[in-house]
Each structure stands twice: as C-alpha cells, then as structure tokens.
Symmetry: C2
Subunit: 386 residues, 2 copies
C-alpha cells in the first residue's frame, strides 16, 4: 500500500453515512419495538418523513429495499385485468415493466432512449387516447442515466383522471429535487434509506394520497408484507405490522432531525449545486454528459473519452484515491461513470474527486490540462454561492 487511502463513496446509493445518525444504532441494544419509547420514536420519524417528503399525506416505512415499496405500489393499487401506463428511459423505469409482468398486468409503455427524459407529452396523449389506466408509473430521477423527469407536468395531467393514480419512484429524487406531492398530485411517492437521507440500506418509505387510498380499497392483487392499508392502521399507532428494523429506524430518526435542522430546501440546493459544479468540471475536461437534457441533481453521468472504458477510470479512482464511483448499468456499462451528489456530500468532496479524476484520466492517456476541471468547478462555485 503506497500510503493512507481513505475510502469514500461517490455512488448514488449507498451514500456516505451521517455518523451521528449511525451512532444511534449502537445505543439500540435495549430497544424493543412494542414499547412506548419506540412508538414515540416511530411516530416522530413518520412526522419527520412527511417534512422530508414535503407532504401532508400518510408516509409509511417498510423494512425492505426501495424495490419492495415499488412492488407494493403495484400490488396495492391494481386488480387483475387492469392496465397501467409506464414512462421508462432507463433500468429503473424497466423495473415497473418487470413488476407488471410479475403480476400479469398489462403495461403500456412510453419509452425514451437512455439519456433522455421520459416524453411527458406522449404520456399525456396515451392517457387521453389509450386509457383507462388504473395507475401511471415513472421515476422522478432515473438513477441509471442521471436524468430528471418532469413529474410536475405529469401530475397535473393525471389529476384529470379521478380513477387513475400517479406513482413516482423518488428513491433518488427525494432530497435532491423540488417535489410537491400534494400540489402536483403525486399520489404515491417512494423513497429509500441509503439515498439522500444518509443512512444505510434496509428501509423503504412510501407516501400515499387520499386518492390512492380510495383506489387501494378496491384493488384485488394479492399482498401481505407490503400491505399499505394494514401498515397505515398500525403505523398510525406507532407500531408496524411486522418487526421493524429498529436500529435503522433510530438512525433514520436522527438523520431526519439533521435534515429538519438543515432544511429540506438546503439539502436539495446542496445536491443541485454539486451537480452544477460537476457538469462544469466535465465540460472543462471535454467529457460529454450522458444526459442529453434535464440532468438530475442526484447524480451526474459522465461519458468516458472516446475509446476509453469507463471501468478503467473507476478502477484508477478506487485504487489510487479510494474514491468509489459507479459504472453504467446494462448497455451503459463501460461507457459512463456516475458521480453522486445526493445526501451527505459537500463541495470539498467534489473538488477532491474532480482532481482525482484528472489524474486518473491522465494516467490512462487522456490529454488534459491538470487543474482545469477543478478550476471550472471553483469558478462555478464563486458564481453560484455568495
């Protein structure tokens, strides 16, 4: 080993942990979930989640990864024979299609190429011409391509259909973009713990509107562990239907207190700033962004130079600098690398990884002026921050 190398996650989940939240789990040796003390913690946590989600709707928590809550957003809303509309432009959009297939539900898809946002106008057309759809599914930000979708416009459109719910996977969207579930009509919004909320994986969150509860009451697909109505009843009393992941809930409570103090808008602005700086750095280094437009704040997907495998860049970053950066998924593997900004990242983290990236690229034979990426980020910082 050439010297001290601190490992740092620059990945879009798991993200760096808020250590004061993590420390709570060590204090959890005596926590039992069927006690007044834990009911108080859970009740407060669910209230704090409403603040984090920016909603007055019920927010529920599950011991699972975000995909579990995605499954719940299918099994709780639909009955056999009903149809859904899916907007997809990446690996997570495709998960809605896999879910529909698993439950034998016909999905009409509006598909854009990787790197593009979902075409919302086309979704509106389909809604008007190909319905009825019981639910519409989309990502707030598609993590695999680092593209943001216009869920506000889609929400406004779905509002016109009283028997149709809008489901938004905001697993990386929460805490990184302005989302207004109540105002925009985002009936079900899904989040996960290992993202902007800065704690380890193992919890999923879901907000549910009154409109969605109305449809859930009629839906006949089978569900048990992810039964939203059952959890609503339990969680209103500070309980969960099945044993909750107590240590993660304690961490979540602490992290949400931190976010409450920081301010939801400041958490979002932080990601937006880091994303903007990253884009400037990439531009200065001559590296194209993968997002053709509407780049996400949560994560930036940068294309590797022509003829260079992004995996080689990622390897240099890890081996030399301990910086763990995500590769592309599926057909994007080897072509892009993804730098995350969601949650517990700061400007210094960004300067560090850009400087490291410059050296990695240089070592791999790419021509660049050392410091030019960092300088571009610094200049953007001075322009954007007082």
């Amino acid at each position: 080993m050439p010297g001290i190398i601190k490992e740092r996650l620059y990945t879009p989940g798991p993200t760096p942990l808020l250590m004061q939240a993590q420390a709570r789990t060590l204090a959890a040796a005596n926590v039992h979930h069927r006690t007044e003390a834990f009911r108080k913690i859970l009740t407060e946590t669910l209230e704090l989640l409403k603040y984090y989600f920016n909603t007055k709707n019920d927010v529920l928590v599950f011991a699972s990864s975000g995909s579990g809550a995605m499954e719940g957003a299918v099994s709780n809303l639909l009955s056999p024979g009903e149809r859904i509309l899916v907007g997809t432009a990446g690996k997570f959009g495709e998960r809605w299609l896999s879910l529909a297939q698993a439950y034998g539900i016909e999905a009409v898809k509006v598909e854009s190429p990787y790197g593009q946002p979902v075409n919302i106008e086309e979704m509106k057309q389909k809604l008007a011409q190909d319905g009825p759809f019981r639910a519409v599914y989309i990502q707030a930000t598609e993590t695999s391509t680092a593209v943001m979708n216009d869920v506000e416009s889609l929400g406004e459109a779905v509002k016109d259909y009283p028997e149709t719910c809008l489901v938004v996977d905001a697993i990386t969207g929460l805490g990184t973009t302005d989302l207004r579930p109540d105002e925009w009509g985002l009936d079900i919004v899904i989040g996960g713990s290992q993202k902007a909320v800065m704690i380890p994986p193992g919890l999923a969150f879901v907000s549910v509107s009154e409109k969605a509860w109305h449809l859930i009451a009629q839906a006949k697909l089978p569900r048990f562990y992810f039964d939203f109505a059952k959890e609503r009843k339990n969680q209103a009393k500070g309980e969960t239907a099945y044993t909750p992941a107590t240590t993660l809930i304690l961490s979540l409570h602490a992290a949400l207190e931190y976010i409450r103090e920081l301010g939801r808008e400041n958490l979002i602005a932080n990601a937006a700033l880091l994303a903007a700086l990253t884009r400037e750095a990439a531009k200065a280094l001559g590296l194209p962004l993968f997002a053709a437009c509407s780049p996400a704040n949560a994560v930036t997907a940068v294309c590797a130079p022509e003829g260079m495998d992004s995996g080689a860049i990622i390897k240099e970053l890890r081996n030399r600098f301990g910086a763990i950066v995500a590769n592309g998924q599926g057909s994007m593997k080897g072509k892009i690398f993804r730098l995350a900004h969601l949650g517990y990242f700061d400007t210094a983290d960004l300067f560090a990884v850009v400087a490291a990236l410059e050296i990695a690229l240089l070592k791999l034979g790419y021509k660049l002026e050392l410091g030019s990426g960092v300088r571009a980020a610094q200049q953007a910082y001075l322009r954007l921050v007082n």
Copy 2:
C-alpha cells in the same frame, strides 16, 4: 429515578445484541454492495448461514422481517387453485392462514388450542386422506405460546409425497433446537436476524431444498421482491437482486463467526439449559407453565398467579429492574409473561431476572419465599452443568 437501572431485553426478539457484531456496522461507512469486498462478505455469510441452519441446501438472505420470507414461502411455492395444509396452535401459525387468504389459496388447518403442540398424527392423517397438498406449513417453535412442534416426524411423513413441500417457520427455532433440514426433509426453513443470531431486526433467511426448487419452478403465484429463484441466481455470485441491508449483513457475518466459534450445538444447549432452569424456577414459585407439554427452548411462557394481570408483573420488572419481558399476544395477553432464552442470554441473566421476578410478585401481593425460585434454578444448574 431511584438509582442506576440498566435496561435488559428478555424478549423473544429483538434479543440482546452481540456488541462485537453490532460494532461492525459502524465500520460500514464505505461499504458499497457492488464491490468485490462486499461480494466476499456476502458469500462467506451465506456459507456461515448454512452452518447455522445445519444444511447443505441453498440459504438466501432478504432485507425484510421474517414475515417477508414467510410470504415468499407461499408465493414461490404455489399456483392458483392449489391447496395447502397448515398446522397451527398460536399467533404465528395463524399467520400462515392469513397468508393463504391473502393469496386466495385454500388452507386446510390442523388446529390445537394455545399452549398445545400441533397434533402431528392428525397432520399425517390429513396428508393421507385430504390431499393433494402442494405444501405443508408449521412452526418449529410457536413463539406466542412457547411450545415446540415435532417437525422431525412431520418431515418424515411429508417425504412420502414427492409433490409436497414442508415449510418450517424456524424464526425462533433456529439456534434453539436441534433442526436437521436435510435429514428430516425440511424443504424450506425460515429464520430472522433479531433472534438467536443476536443482531438487530431487518434480515430474513430462508433455506431451500432441491425438492422445493423443483416445485418453485412450476409455481405461478406472483412474486417479485421475495422471488427465491431470482435471489438464488444473484446470491450464488455474492450479489442480491435489490440493494441489501449492508450494515446488517456485516453484523450478521460477525455474529455467525461468533456462533461458528461457539458451536451451533452449544448455542442450542445454552437455550435448552436456560429454559430448563426457568421451568424449575417457575415450578418452585408455584407458577404454572403455559406449555402443557413440549415447552420450547427459545422462550418460556409462564402463567401469572390466579387473579393477577401478567401486565402488572411486566410493569414491575421494567420499572424496578429495567427487565423487558414480553406479555402474551391476543387472547393470552394479561395471562402469561414470556422469558426468552434465544441467542445472547446467559445463566447470570437468568438468575437476575428470577430474583427480580420474585420481588415483583411479592410487591404485587403474591405469597412466596424469597430466593426459592433462584435456588431452584441454581440447583438445576448444578445438576445439569459440570
């Protein structure tokens, strides 16, 4: 506050945490699940789980509570129109019936009163006369009543039916009773993290036999998050289909290393010893056991004295001594209290809680000779331990 009171869990899950395992979660700040380092941890953990389960079958891990894996044992095995046989004598047996109902599966039940074991002879008769059943469901130990079931005999019987699987909820049975899945034909065995494995809630485990895989390949109920075949494929490579609960997996790895060192049989013997000592103490104090026969090693259910609410005993134990003891569930609430022995409990823990219990009972007006319960436990200790 009258003085220092250390809170201690005597509950059948969550159980006291193995602190050296818990500490691993704090070292997890840089863990990403799609890395060689994590794949190695997960692969080792799954191997250690096989040791813990005492099986050569595949063992899978899920980010969920044990109930999630119970759902998977229904949705992965069955097709619409198939029938199942359920042995039930408590709240967890009834969960199998709720699951069958959620999936529209007809369940034939063999039901015993709370406090009795499931009648295995009756199950064998039903198997022979009322079949075909695609699967048979039972608890190794029914936590709500603290009764152990004879899954060995049931396994021997189900072996005769090549198209029928035996599913055993061993969430509190693992690490507390001798289970031999391969020898006895326990096709699917389910465990959870907050039990004898001494770590927080949030993980479920499931072992799957070749016979079960054969039926799973034909089963048509919908499943996604708890898709066993998909996880088998992923976990064989040290991956998971969806983001794993990384910190809990690190804790699990550490706890299983401890169990490997301690020896699975010694972990089981420890629970058996503590259960035996508890029964002697209860007898000396004139408190009947709730289990008419076949008391579990995992937990002992003790009846409150005639006319006394078990909740009052539990409250005294908590307020005076910080000892957190479980009440009965459902119709057993107020009648029994449950002292757990699964996982990280030792003899000194038991002496402490029995002495505390004597004072609690005395304060509530129960006539007893102080020290008589402890003495009976001590005498049993001297009889049973070298």
